[in-house]
Symmetry: C2
Subunit: 100 residues, 2 copies
Amino acid sequence: MRKGLVEYCILSILARKEAYPSDILAELKEADMIVVEGTLYPLLIRDKNQGLLAYRWVESTQGPPRKYYYLTEKGREALAEMDSAWADMVRSIETLKNRQ
Amino acid sequence: MRKGLVEYCILSILARKEAYPSDILAELKEADMIVVEGTLYPLLIRDKNQGLLAYRWVESTQGPPRKYYYLTEKGREALAEMDSAWADMVRSIETLKNRQ
DNA sequence: ATTTAATACCTTGTTCAACAAAGTACTAAA
DNA sequence: TTTAGTACTTTGTTGAACAAGGTATTAAAT
């Protein structure tokens, strides 16, 4: 019911611009959301296999080439549903909290 | 990181008034948060064993006696931390979403 | 050339919240 | 003394997230 928040965050990040894993981890960290590599990589692979994400190789001047991930159309649709589910969840909590 | 939202909801409900499981399920449902018995009962027992909740038996006119659960002082402290964690999470999502 | 350090990516095994699908026990009315 | 309704419990499963490793590539240092 409320699993997949990390996935939601990652799709949200990639909705703005393509990024490679270290970029994503850095953005999550800036938002005070600590996620480790062992969580991120399998998640990216899973979403790629489901057709939500795709990637392209990009050469780096400071090391090995990087996998830049970006949202597919299917990924944007999935994100739209997650936006809705997240809004529902926030509303649910508010409902519970504001009840007298 | 973001597990335990059901637990958060239940403690929030019990922070207002004591309740027995069916009451809790009804309140969750009103807030559009579907939780099943198989989730609720073990969770109540777990939190009771951790000292966050306690219960008292109350006779019912329509069936067997009920376990009315209520928050302990330790439970209120735990809830305060969850309030903070939830606020952090909402803030994190907003941060990610509002970035240009 | 060869080692070292940094970067990038990947894998295996574990944990535990939540769920599914049962079951048991008690109460009251038929 | 069944039947139906309510209340509570248990066992097994799933899967997101984590912990703790590993391999591969690149560039700089030796």
